[in-house]
């Protein structure tokens, strides 16, 4: 069944068959990542496995001082990035209680995972492996003029380095700051969700290397179900802050092909809280541009007509 869309919907609404919409008749289920940060131990095996498999070059021996994160963020030569977030808050007696530190939000302290309790305070060390979200509505793909970026039969988004001309349109189009131009190379690079491995029936290198199953690979529908159950379980254990990020098909990108279980606000992990695909407003932008252009034409015509008088 093919969905019927308005143009605006086609750019941002939920799509139940993203590969079908991209023109694949018979195709496998949409595949994706569920990254459960509540069991991430920050070992960075995903970063190394990704670089090894995809032959991504080393991109800087820089000591950042950002906890144990010397990677910094996703980029042309970093397709998996483990963030390390250190948090401290006071605690009261045996049970943690929310304390207003005058911070922007007051939240109950998490109880079970990613928490180690000391007496007078609580230290949390959040770790999360970030990756390309393989958006349902991928602006990078939509703006690519050469067709270097394409939707695969698995519903993932891949850039073909031999087609990319390095125009860089995709870079500002990505609202997550994932895709980037590699210095000295000039072309755009990002996670392929190991398209080559998927084609051979293998799971992506990062998921394969992850020792704690923090990175789970599989059909997106299954992953969403599993993730929902995991959030419920964590909340039942008292981790009231557990939430999914990017799993909702009704979000601003039509749902992410790679989504996350977080233990705090997305901003804490460096993720945009309310992502909206940058091309969602293209119709209205074009409408306004067309309107402005028409106005301009009219004005010029008016001048010309006026001048003739």
């Amino acid at each position: 069944m093919t969905q019927e869309f308005t143009l605006g919907e086609r750019l941002a609404a939920p799509l139940h068959d993203v590969a079908g919409e991209a023109g694949y008749d018979a195709h496998p289920a949409r595949m994706g990542f569920f990254t459960d940060t509540s069991v991430c131990i920050g070992c960075k095996a995903c970063e190394v496995a990704c670089k090894e498999w995809n032959a991504v070059p080393e991109d800087g021996l820089t000591f950042t001082g950002m906890s144990y994160d010397n990677t910094g963020g996703l980029g042309a030569s970093t397709w998996r990035h483990v963030a390390f977030v250190e948090q401290v808050r006071p605690r009261d007696g045996g049970r943690a209680k929310p304390v207003d530190l005058g911070m922007p939000t007051v939240r109950p302290a998490p109880s079970v995972p990613q928490a180690a309790n000391e007496d007078d305070r609580e230290v949390r060390w959040l770790m999360s492996s970030d990756v390309c979200k393989h958006c349902t509505h991928a602006a990078c793909l939509d703006v690519c003029p050469t067709g270097a970026l394409f939707r695969t039969e698995f519903g993932t988004v891949v850039v073909q380095s031999d087609v990319c001309n390095g125009c860089g349109y995709c870079v500002p189009a990505c609202l997550y700051g994932v895709i980037d131009i590699r210095p000295g190379d000039g072309r755009a690079w990002k996670c392929t969700l190991c398209y080559d491995r998927l084609g051979a029936g293998q799971e992506p290198a990062c998921a394969k290397a992850c020792p704690t199953k923090s990175i789970q690979f599989g059909p997106l529908d299954e992953l969403r179900e599993r993730a929902a159950a995991r959030v419920d379980a964590l909340r039942a254990q008292g981790a009231t802050e557990a939430r999914l990020y990017g799993a909702d098909p009704a979000n601003g990108v039509g749902g992410d092909g790679a989504f996350f279980l977080l233990l705090d606000e997305p901003e804490v992990y460096g993720l945009p809280p309310d992502p909206v695909v940058t091309t969602r407003d293209l119709p209205s932008i074009w409408r306004r541009a067309a309107f402005a252009a028409a106005g301009l034409v009219a004005a010029v015509a008016a001048c010309a007509i006026g001048g003739r008088r």
């Binding site: 001082g65 000391e118 007496d119 020792p211």
Partner: protein, 877 residues
Amino acid sequence: MAECHPVGFQWVMEAKQRGATIIHVDPRFTRTSAVADIHVPLRAGSDIAFLGGLIRYVLENDKWFREYVVAYTNAPMILREDFRDTEDLDGLFSGFQEDTRHYDPSTWQYEGADVAAAAGQRDQWSDMESNEKGSSSDSRSEHARRGAATARVSTSGAGGGTFHGRPERDDTLQHPRCVFQVLKRHFSRYTPEKVAEICGVSEAQFLRVAEALTANSGRERTSAFVYAVGWTHHTVGVQYIRTAAILQLLLGNIGRPGGGIMALRGHASIQGSTDIPTLFNILPGYLPMPHAHDHEDLATYISADAGSKGYWGNMDAYAVSLLKAWWGDAATADNDYCFDYLPRLTDKHSNYDTVMKQLAGESEGYFLIGENPAVGTANGKMNRLGLANLKWLVVRDFQLIESATFWKDGPEIETGELAPEEIGTEVFFLPAAAHTEKDGSFTNTQRMLQWHHKAVEPTGDQRSDLWFYFHLGRIIRAKLAGSTARADRPILDLTWDYPTKGEAGDPDAEAVLAEINGFGPDGKPLSSYTELKADGSTRCGCWIYCGCFKDGVNEPARRKPGSEQSWVAPEWGWAWPANRRILYNRASADPEGRPWSERKAYLWWDPEQKKWTGHDVPDFQPDKSPDYRPPEDAEREDAIAGTEPFIMQADGRGWLYVPAGLADGPLPAHYEPHESPVPNQLYGQQQNPARQVYPHRLNRYAPSGDDPGAEVFPYVFTTYRLTEHHTAGGMSRWLPYLSELQPEFFCEVSPQLAAERGLEHLGWATIVNPRAVIEARVLVTERMRPLRVGGRTLHQIGLPYHWGGNGLSTGDSANELLAIALDPNVHIQPTKASVCDIRPGRRPRAPAAAPLVADYQRRAGITAETGTEAVTGGKKK
């Protein structure tokens, strides 16, 4: 564990998902702490106080597993009247001899019996003797002399357990001199208040751990302990593990599923290189290395353990089979199975003793195989100066590590202490093949052998270690061929006929495994160590590995998925001995042979079939009924009763108290680290009195506690690893993908210490102590926090030790700061707790660096004697 063993940590995460409570006790807030339910950031070097507090909690609150303790441990054994505890002697046990710094352990024995250990330090007698040369032997008891004659074997791993007489027992545990009562008195001062004061943790936090641990132990539940070098790298390291063992025995957590004490080894197959040892004082399978003069012949060597109870009673079969494996047909009953061919111990030959000999010019050559002492061991400078004083050095590694290039670019070249043209050491660098480039086995902490197959051929001149030693031996043998010299016979008579494969001529690793497994009289592979004979008819390269190549099948190579077999997974790899997954598993059943609980059923006695059955291979004679009581004259395993699970021990029991086998006391006691800014708050005795010290101009020690000058080094530092790098960096600092993840040496400090010392985040810090000055980038983190210890604030500094001057990611080596002062049992250095000062900015370069260290030494009043005192008790109390 998550930090250094992330792959193994997946099972902890799985346990957590299934409801396990994860408690992490570590001075450092690591990746493990991040996912633990409870993190206890105790002061580095205070673990015995913490564990001792738990023992006291268990005893005082009646949380111990009575039936298990009475039947399976030595709690009822009665001690000699002349034993004195630390309670009586302000931190010393009876028998300490201040002049030799050694204990005479004779007063530690049971009343009415002498035993030697199945594991541990067994050269205490010989050490005493050698240290007492020239002094009157009258000072030694008759017992010690008797002991020297019977129990004098040397090993740091294990050995035979001798047993003479029958110890007296009180199964009501009421006798004032029974082990249980002694234990209770000994740990009575380890109160929660003292734990808090010593460890810098709150009483509430300590009690949370105590409650969680005891609530999860008993008939229905078990708790496991996991440790790594954080426990072993102390001058009292062996006693750390002992304290955990006492606790686990009291709680009934040994020999049962979900229990135990797991040692996480530093890297792959450290367990394997202890089983088939790279250590100086043991032979394969924990047979002791013979001593010169005292073990003139095989009979003398064996008789040190003869007539004993337990499985070590078969040591003659294990030793003869080993000699037959090595010397084959040349080994006959007439020539003592070539026992003369074995090297003998003439002295201490531990790692650091060897370094001292190098410095003294008494050691000519050195092989470094996957080891980088120039940056990887305590007191890097002494190690480098030792290397510079050799005739030849062989380095086999993946990269040109610092130990291979110290002669041209080491720190001493910069300071002018060494000049390349004046170093006589000839260095041979031979590139090594990685584990992916060769066949072989790893033995993990579970004693499980897992085979790895070669994935790719090594490139260039890279070769496996097996290749190197085989061909080295082959060439030496070729050069010696035809020699009639007696000294050459041990080499010429070796069985050295492994088939080789491929262009490079790599020996067939499976042939080596088969030799280790051993062959019977018919030339077929043996299937169990119980088949070994002392008559020369069997050959076996390592008795505990016997059976791993049963029927010619490489059992370590088995990889049957867990989902296709029982939960014990006996068909994944092969675990020594006899593919047993849990040692002493007889303890998983009650004395009558019934499971302690259905939930924890593992092995039980089947009265109908009259044999032990269950989920694992019984670690017991399979048909020995729980009713069996040994006759008076029983020997070997027949001397173990049907209710005694600890079959390697001469008395069949788990030892809460160690009557023999340890160099520094029958019970653990909290001593401060060799160097500590804190006085010992439990005893007048500051440090382990029996620790080994090495006074040397390059190895000066800091004053401790309240001693004058201690305030010059007010901070504790602890060294450790990061996930991103591997030990001294030889396997990681040359790899771009790992180096970019942790590109520089840094120190971790708390915001409070940063403020106190003016350290800036991302700036530089200079760290100095009596031995060295180094610099590191500063990482200010809330994960480090000041502790309240003994009424004062104590700051700790974290130092990952991976760096050196070579590779992609470079930096100073933290190990420059470490002292050479050793645990007396296993000769390990203290890397986990030492002292220093820290100041902002980069370190001085030569020639100003040495004067800075000298200035600190002067300010602290450091002399050759500082920190070397054995006994400090009495003067403070």
